[in-house]
Symmetry: C3
Subunit: 361 residues, 3 copies
């Protein structure tokens, strides 16, 4: 099992998922309930268990009373900081009647939560995905839970050679598996970069139908994994031979930012947040619907495969062997970094937040 790194930021939800209905999510084995305050709309994250008898505060008939959270079993009521403000049958509220509240930051359309030691929570350390909330980019997104160790999803996303096989006919073509990768690991910052530049490749339906390109393409995949949670795939598509200009602009290519947030829920359950942002045809609803549906299908192929893989691994005897090859360089680096983070190893905050990828077309 891949250990959890507790003192890290994780995506708990999209901002639009949190409102005046109670939302329960389990993050790093901790049940958490989310809601927004009535006046300011701030996101509140509290432990999802009543201090009295452990009833889930996100479950009906638990409910909001203004900004207070009322347990549906015996009515214990909590303020936004987790302090109990009412108990049944008596006036005095015990001093220990409080539940944990968790630091929360809304950024780039995500609700980030910090489960570890609260005094270590530094909002500046949250990696950025600015295209997610940038009007120059059109984004489709979703979330699928998978019944597997979150490490299997990290493996999956860091080795895109599987696109050729698992996602053939959608985003995979033979060139993805055939083209060697280059990998860069920034151990200090906890970032793994895996690049695969295909200069002359078939164009899979995902890109041909959304861009309108006919014929073969130049296809660049530049992965940037900010362990443990945020995964960015900078994808560049252009007709064969079309390159960025010397000044860095790239008006003749199509750019897609594929974003994943990988949030461990329990030991064998992971939230797979996925989004596809594009800098072209932003107002074309047909392209929007196509990319949403096509990527959802691709995600569900991963879900099916990883559910099955976890079941297979559960039947293995202890000490089963894997065989790693060149394509696994990025995934193995990610495992090393996750192990170090889980063991408590820190990492410096990013020197500067990443700039918004320019929507340059």
């Amino acid at each position: 099992m891949t250990e959890f790194a507790r003192n890290q930021w994780y995506v708990a939800a999209y901002g639009h998922e949190v409102g005046r209905e109670l939302l329960g999510r389990t993050i790093l084995n901790e049940p958490v309930v989310f809601y927004r305050t009535e006046e300011t709309g701030e996101v509140v994250a509290l432990a999802d268990r009543c201090v009295h008898r452990r009833y889930p505060l996100s479950a009906a008939p638990s409910r909001l009373d203004g900004d207070n959270l009322v347990c549906g079993y015996h009515g214990f009521t909590y303020g936004t900081s987790g302090t109990c403000v009412y108990v049944p049958g008596q006036k005095r509220i015990p001093r220990t009647a409080r539940i944990s509240s968790y630091p929360v930051v809304e950024q780039d359309s995500f609700v980030w939560v910090w489960i570890g030691a609260p005094d270590l929570a530094d909002a500046a350390a949250i990696p950025r995905a600015p295209h997610m909330a940038d009007p120059r980019w059109k984004t489709v997104s979703g979330m699928e839970p998978i019944d597997c160790d979150y490490g299997l999803l990290v493996d999956n996303l860091l080795d895109l050679s599987h696109e050729t096989y698992l996602h053939g006919g959608y985003i995979g073509t033979p060139e993805v598996a055939e083209t060697p990768i280059s990998t860069e690991v920034d151990e200090g910052a906890g970032i793994v970069r895996v690049s695969r530049h295909m200069d002359d490749a078939a164009c899979p339906p995902f890109y041909s139908r959304s861009t309108g390109i006919e014929g073969r393409i130049t296809r660049w995949q530049d992965i940037e994994y900010h362990a443990p949670c945020l995964y960015l795939l900078h994808s560049r598509i252009a007709p064969v031979g079309v390159l960025p200009h010397a000044d860095g602009t790239d008006p003749d290519a199509f750019h897609v930012e594929v974003t994943y947030a990988i949030t461990p829920s329990t030991d064998k359950h992971v939230y797979d947040f996925w989004a596809v942002s594009r800098d072209f045809a932003q107002d074309d609803d047909e392209v929007t619907a196509f990319l949403h549906d096509n990527n959802h299908t691709v995600v569900m192929q991963d879900v099916t495969a990883l559910n099955l893989l976890q079941q297979a691994l559960d039947q293995e005897s202890a000490g089963y062997q894997e065989l790693s090859i060149n394509i696994d360089t990025g995934g193995l680096a990610a495992r090393r970094i996750l192990a170090r983070l889980a063991a408590g190893g820190g990492r410096p905050a990013p020197a500067a937040p990443a700039a918004t990828p320019a929507a340059t077309r």
Copy 2:
């Protein structure tokens, strides 16, 4: 997990559930099969496993042959005392071919069974619920299994402040949670009494629709829990200010006896027998149907909440904390008594069987 007290009587079924069809129930982790004899109609309780290969004797095609029980796998046949009277393929029946039979008492419409040491079974120690079989009371009843530790159901029933929240709109009003309780514990007899007398309370639909009272009420809740199994809630409803007469008669109030039998099945499975008996409108079928349906809904709210609560507790790490307050006094006393009974501590038989609550209206 709440330990089981083995040397105690438990309700296994309503009398009307046991007949010439085999009924299998698991009581304190022991599978038991019940049926009635043909001539006398006595209830027989035998171990629900064939001595040969452990096939369940309550499962088809096992069947009765007169008063004998025939195993559906190889035909081993048992008399009402559990002695084997037939085996296939040979005349000689091995001396050890017998299954356990359990002491059974039918009383107050219930079938009580004794799983512990048979020589300790004393029918006089069975607590009484005489209204259950008294024609002056009209009773509706049912049974719902719950996938939880039986201790969670004991907790639930001894702390009725949850009516306000979990059963709001049915039997709960704000006054239930607000009104302090008084608790009396008879450690020797293993009885916990919790009383809550509301002098001026809203009338919940359960009572307004069944009694016809309009306006606010005097509502008394007097719990009498005979650990481990029998729970009686003596409920008195009257218009505000209407009290019992000095001579003890109470002609202007409505009385409801709410009976529960809490029978541990397995470690995380409990049988929740419930009944509502009233001393008014006994012949009014509409009231009868209403009280049955309304209380069934209330029970199902408990079932849903306790199933969920058990799942939540199953995910807790060892040594999780609860916070108890005044409303929990009765429940904590019940836990203490159950722990003592489970550890083998006896209790004197009740000095005298409780008198039938007078149907005094």
Copy 3:
């Protein structure tokens, strides 16, 4: 739990189940994938886990490419011997990139597989069921998985007294349970023979409707269990008093070979292969359909009972007792032999393959 005897042959499938679609079966806890080669139609049996990340090779989108097996996750590709012939992203194939291949023999319509040490696999040791592939016999067959220890199915088949109770109205009559058996055990060859000859018995529907016999019958049941996998029931049905001729021919009787192959899948999962072969009315489609449906019903009665029995045993405390009587002599002998085989005790190959039972009517 009944231990597995690894160095033995097991039926993995009927020959007709294996083709150009991948078939995954788990034998003795080992996942195996089966397919036929394109040219020769030989059956290939390989470990059903990719050497790279353990993805199941029998699961979509894994697929055949000619006679090579392509993993559906990252495209690792294996030849029929289990050697890896392609990996993504690089030319060099690691020396250790190979999966196990298992010895396979097709015989008597079955695909036999050897999970143990390959150098001990001796095809001559496979017990025979020649009627399964003999045109003089008409066979109906099927396979049902059961969620139980395979030892429970061995018990079941070696003690046919259960036909009277579990299969009454199909193949059971009172005489089966009443008639004593004789048992012969060939410990060296690992064969248990149990015979029950009923000279004057009721004819169950299974035989009356298929043979057309009216009135009482002579019914012989001669079991021949070749531990651990192959079970043959030689069944002879004739009008009362009709016996085989002195020269061994038996033209006036009806013969049915009932074949079972008992293949342990996991600790509590077994494949129950079943077949009914007859030497009469071979071309009568109505009889064929009747025998198929009737025996399928009988098998499903076993499935239901054994699923239930395993659940009952799972709830027993350790060291529960069984009571064995005369009818269990064969089953107990089988358990002894299985324990010896599991402990590694060998057994000589049969001196000579059994002759095809003559279709003598």
